[in-house]
Amino acid sequence: MFTNVAAIDTPMEFNDQATELRFKKLTEELRCLVCQNQSLADSHAELAQDLRNEVYKMVIAGDSDKEIIAYMVARYGDFVLYRPPVKNTTYFLWFGPFLILLIAVIIIARVIRTRANDLVEEDNEQGNDPI
């Protein structure tokens, strides 16, 4: 995979390393709309190039990460984010797995308890003392 963002299209120049890192981080967190399993940083799609240019311009202009992400979301929706925001429609996405884990733990606990009781009863029937 290409990790060097600048190598893909027109070379982008940055005044300092912090800005360059910010640009890399942002384009890796934004999804390319055309080839949906690639980030903006990875994609060769023309739209991804255009969007990278937009992000570049905004980074250079000193816009905050929040502003840049808001710009993208306003146009393409939450879909462009690899990490969707926590809100009403995404509660299940974020907390569903924990809920399922909790249910699994409860079921396992109940199964173990029932089996333990059964063993005790069996032992009692055979006249042995429970250990």
Binding site: L33, V34, Q36, E46, L47, D50, L51, E54, V73, A74, R75, Y76, G77, D78, F79
Partner: protein, 177 residues
């Protein structure tokens, strides 16, 4: 008996979820622009570069805005429907010519017909980005207040035109102030 019931129920639920998932097209991303005003733009006209097409030109009318390009194969597929619509109705159809060259675009219109009242020439695709375009063709319908009421991604089909677009246009025209 009971011990099999729960796994069976879970299995059925899983199958149903997967079945629904199969029916959803992951390429269709819901647009955050629905029920929002059309993004402001001001672009040169494709045919008359000195003149312009502005988003404010559409205010007061129900408008269909079609994003197209001469390099876009799917655009060719839907084009006859737009040409037909422009001939058979009073519908205001505007175009956004997306990341194209003027020569190619003009030639394309000459060859396949020009259903557009005017096409905006978006050479660098920047208005496309404002519109959230990610795959041409895309089609927007605005009500008289300039609010986007519908967006179709990909080529319009006869079915979409008859079942969704035309009824919506009728409704918007009837209900507007």
């Amino acid at each position: 008996m009971n011990r099999y019931l729960l796994p069976l129920a879970l299995f059925v639920v899983l199958v149903l979820l997967l079945a629904v998932g199969l029916g959803i097209d992951p390429k269709l991303v819901p647009s955050p622009l629905i029920d929002k005003p059309l993004p402001v733009f001001n672009l040169p006209k494709l045919k008359v570069p000195d003149d312009s097409v502005k988003s404010s030109d559409f205010l007061g009318d129900v408008v269909l805005l079609n994003v197209w390009a001469s390099w876009c194969v799917a655009c060719r597929a839907e084009h006859p429907l737009l040409v037909e619509l422009s001939k058979n109705s009073e519908m205001l159809i505007y175009g956004v010519n997306y990341k194209d060259t003027r020569a190619d675009a003009l030639q394309w219109l000459q060859r396949f017909g020009d259903p557009y009242r005017a096409s905006a020439f978006d050479q660098h695709g920047l208005t496309g980005i404002d519109l959230g375009v990610y795959g041409v063709p895309e089609t927007y319908i605005m009500d008289r207040a300039g609010i986007i009421r519908y967006k179709h991604i990909g080529p319009i089909t006869r079915e979409v035109l008859d079942n969704t677009i035309l009824p919506l246009i009728e409704k918007l025209k009837a209900s507007s102030t």
